[in-house]
């Protein structure tokens, strides 16, 4: 049964909305396949606006991996803005894919990638527009199986009622396995209906199906236990890890949009995972171990990706790109190859050391100089020990001064506010650091024409990190500290003039905190917020703190808990956390020990360069650290005049 395109109906609405091009598709790299000859059909969603969702690497990789299979069809869908949502409801146009404009409700699977919890309300909009019942238990074999992925899927409990399944970890092999199961089940004539399909997925031990688990609560509101409600599903569900990234060189055919998006570049992941051990960083905890892509694969991907896309910018991505064992050779090799071509190279630089500046200089040989960002994260040495960000004040100042001396006029310094054990003093230290940076920079360059921007993000404790037990600061405390910090920065007018100050207020962080560490009871809050009009919560112009506070106050007391209980309350060692049955590989005892070390300001080294400290991931997941050096260079090199 063929599925007609909804484009003729949609087309009538497009002249009446802003930026219609984002709903039209037609990207380079987009694939439109015949509906009837596909046996398994995926709709892949990034639950944010097209301009943010299109560049997402995860979706692009899965889109390509799936479409390479001859009998599988994958299309993409994104959150529609409220102007189009209103018209779609008025004219009965369903949530559609941008590739062939097929209704999302007609697909076998809807895979949704959650980089952040603030996309949850957009999931509900998409389900509703697609005609898919919001609650998974109301769905039939006529509806897609809704699968959550991405980092937020490491605690999918707040959306457990709305998704049929969640996949933890790397998606490349997981989508292939799920596809195989769906293919076989359909070929057998869909025996046992939706329940049987979900059961087959759950039995892989790497697909979490919330409906097969019951959550019991203690009288005080804490979780008593989470247990399977049937005999044949595993007690714990494990994350997936893709090993040997050289065998998975995606994206090969990056999507090139016509619409303007947040990143216009060919992005290549130079490694996955990070063991720097920053205690606030969920990405660094859940993506272990470090797996490098080799210098030769990186070079090949950049070459082919640029030829295919016509992009003029390359981003070398990872959680800490300067840590690649051959980053120096990668940077100089690429800089050689693209010298004089107007291709610009960028390295998201967060590591605070002079080596980073050497790399940045290498990459800017073409004349385009990208900004330098350093992330000391904490203002005082003490708090940096708490979060395990091993940077001394001396290092930081030396690094920034080196940047100024090498011609950078402006650097950006990134910090967090609201960290565990933090006091006003720790935050005020940021101002003194910034003053010192400007003072030293002026002395070194003899120029007053240097600036730094201090950018502050609110700390949100995340599952599967040593801070998963920590209490959050209230928004009032955060806002008060930021006010004091601003005053302190401007207390010296000469220095303060050279310092920019950017921050977010504490309220959105608190809601992110509720969603990050929430359990199934939080689902009712999400639903209520959505019903009250909550959309695009990651956008300050759409986010309403009051709407979340009101919904929490309306829903949570019925369960004997409240917003503070989820956010500003510290958990103790024995508490069952909502995600304990979801296995990121990290040993809970190790995480607790690291949390205790944090409180005693004791630092933890990186296992790439020091012996294993038994975080538990490699043995639990049967993985290993995969790093170079390979000793190879990028070939062919453009001849350079000065011999090295």
């Amino acid at each position: 049964m063929s599925v007609p395109s909804v484009f003729p109906q949609l087309e009538q609405l497009l002249p009446r909305i802003s930026k219609p091009i984002q709903y039209v598709g037609g990207e380079l790299g987009a694939v439109v396949k015949d509906w009837d000859s596909a046996t398994v059909r995926w709709a892949l969603m990034y639950p944010d606006a097209y301009e943010v969702g299109l560049p997402n690497q995860g979706v692009q990789i899965l889109y390509e991996v799936l479409n390479e299979l001859p009998d599988v069809l994958a299309e993409r869908t994104y959150a529609v803005w409220p102007d189009l949502e209103r018209l779609m409801r008025e004219h009965g146009v369903p949530q559609f894919t941008v590739d062939a404009h097929r209704p999302v409700g007609a697909f076998d699977l809807l895979g949704v990638s959650f980089a952040t919890e603030l996309g949850y309300t957009n999931l509900l909009t998409a389900l509703d527009l697609a005609g898919i019942p919001l609650e998974a238990r109301d769905r039939t074999t006529d509806h897609p199986v809704v699968v959550a992925g991405g980092h937020a899927a490491f605690n999918p409990e707040p959306i457990a009622d709305f998704v049929d399944a969640a996949v933890l970890g790397d998606g490349e092999e997981a989508v292939l396995e799920i596809t195989g199961i769906v293919r076989a089940w359909k070929a057998e004539g869909s025996p046992g209906g939706r329940d049987e399909l979900l059961l087959r997925l759950a039995r892989t031990e790497s697909v979490y199906v919330p409906r097969f688990y019951d959550v019991d609560y203690l009288p005080d509101g804490r979780i008593q236990r989470v247990v399977p409600n049937r005999a044949d599903v595993p007690f714990r569900v494990h994350k997936r890890t893709t090993m040997n990234l050289d065998e998975w060189p995606y994206p090969k055919r990056p999507l090139v949009p016509l619409a303007e998006t947040v990143h216009e570049r060919y992005a290549v992941e130079i490694f996955r995972g990070c063991t720097r051990g920053c205690r606030f960083c969920q990405a660094g905890m859940i993506t272990r171990p470090v797996r490098e892509r080799s210098i030769t694969t990186v070079g090949q991907m950049v070459k082919e990706g640029l030829e295919f896309s016509g992009f003029s910018e390359v981003g070398l991505l990872s959680l800490s790109s300067a840590d690649h064992s051959e980053i120096g050779d990668i940077c100089s090799g690429l800089a050689d190859q693209y010298q004089g071509t107007n291709v610009s190279l960028s390295l998201p630089s967060t590591r605070v050391d002079a080596f980073n500046i050497t790399l940045a200089q290498e990459l800017s040989r073409n004349g385009r100089r990208t900004g330098l960002t350093f992330a000391p994260e904490g203002g005082s040495e003490r708090i940096r020990k708490v979060i395990n960000k091993m940077v001394s004040e001396e290092d930081l100042i030396r690094t920034v001064v080196t940047a100024y001396s090498n011609g950078w006029r402006q650097v950006k310094l990134y910090f967090m506010c609201g960290l565990p054990t933090e006091t006003d003093e720790d935050v005020l230290q940021i101002a003194r650091l910034a003053h010192e940076v400007i003072r030293a920079g002026r002395a070194a360059t003899g120029s007053k024409d240097i600036r730094c921007t201090v950018s502050i993000g609110g700390f949100v404790p995340k599952p599967h990190t040593p801070f998963q037990w920590a209490s959050m600061c209230s928004p009032e405390v955060i806002d008060d500290r930021l006010r004091k910090l601003k005053a302190e920065i401007n207390s010296d007018r000469s220095l303060g003039r050279a310092i920019g100050f950017r921050y977010h207020d504490g309220e959105p962080s608190l809601i992110e905190g509720l969603l990050s560490r929430g359990d199934r009871r939080v689902g009712a809050v999400i639903r209520r917020v959505w019903e009250e009009g909550g959309r695009f919560d990651g956008w300050s112009e759409h986010f309403s703190y009051q709407r979340w506070v009101d919904a929490a106050a309306a829903v949570l007391p019925g369960f004997g808990v409240d917003l503070d209980w989820y956010t500003t309350r510290e958990r103790d060692e024995t508490e069952v956390l909502p995600w304990d049955h979801l296995d990121s590989g990290l040993d809970k005892d190790w995480l607790w020990q690291d949390w205790q070390d944090s409180l005693s300001e004791y630092e933890q080294d990186d296992c790439r360069w020091t012996p294993c400290f038994d975080c538990g991931v490699c043995p639990a997941m049967d993985t290993e650290i995969q790093i170079g050096p390979t000793g190879r260079k990028l070939l062919p090199l453009t001849p350079v005049t000065s011999a090295r």
Binding site: V24, G26, E27, V256, L258
Partner: protein
């Protein structure tokens, strides 16, 4: 420096491409196609691409024009084919010719021919609206421009307006009967666009199309005294030397 003038089309769904979107896509296409584009001097060099007036977002076009400067000589026929292949289908490079010395593209464009499909509008109704528009000495409409809300005349810029005869044919898009309007509009400031003329028809005759009309630019060029539009690339084509026109 060799200069090549290009006519391109914006068709089907990709008519929703804005001019900025097209410009980015075209720069990427130049890189993908390996066209030896010349760059401006300076700290941030820009590729030498200049555009003649672009059709509004959402309006299809068979006749958009741009000019590129090359640092090495290339065959316009090959440049056309490679650029067309490098752009998404729907953004189509129709023709490329080497520029001859003389007038610029902009000097050769002072009017556009548009065709507007109005699904759900009866040709007779449209005919009456057009008659009222033609009879008026001035038809003022309002539009939000970058300078704020502006009121301007649409009648003066319209050199020709007619309902075309095969109008009763159902629209290929919606399947419902559809009136078709042909327009020739002079380039003036502020520009008078197809939707401004439709706004004018609303002012003079309360014409309210039930679904959004679909406009296509059919041609751009110099408007002759006889009302024809002269193709701006004509003067550059080999087989029609300038002197013989």
């Amino acid at each position: 420096m060799q200069r090549i003038r290009i006519r391109y089309a914006k068709r089907g769904p990709l008519r929703f491409t804005s001019h900025r979107d097209f410009a980015r896509a075209f720069e990427r296409a130049v890189r993908r196609a390996g066209v030896p584009i010349a760059f401006s001097q300076g700290f941030t060099p820009h590729p030498k691409i200049s555009y003649a007036s672009a059709a509004p977002t959402g309006v299809a076009s068979e006749a958009e024009y741009l000019e590129i400067g090359l640092q090495a000589t290339a065959d316009p026929v090959a440049v056309r084919a490679s650029l067309d292949a490098a752009l998404s289908p729907g953004l189509d490079v129709v023709e490329a010719v080497e520029a001859r010395p003389g007038t610029s593209l902009a000097d050769r464009i002072d009017a556009s021919a548009w065709r507007i499909e109005l699904p759900g509008v009866k040709p007779d109704t449209l005919g009456q609206a057009v008659a009222a528009f033609t009879a008026a000495g001035e038809v003022l409409v309002e539009r939000l421009t970058k300078q704020g809300r502006r009121t301007f005349d649409t009648r003066g810029a319209v050199a020709a307006i007619s309902v075309i005869s095969e109008s009763a044919a159902p629209s290929e898009v919606t399947g419902i009967p559809c009136a078709i309007l042909d327009l020739v509009v002079r380039q003036v400031t502020p520009s008078v666009r197809p939707d401004d003329v439709l706004a004018g028809l609303r002012v003079v005759a309360d014409l309210e199309p039930p679904v959004p009309p679909r406009a296509t630019r059919l041609a751009q060029g110099t408007l002759t005294a006889q009302g024809a539009i002269v193709d701006p690339l004509e003067a550059d084509r080999d087989e029609t030397p300038i002197g013989e026109r």
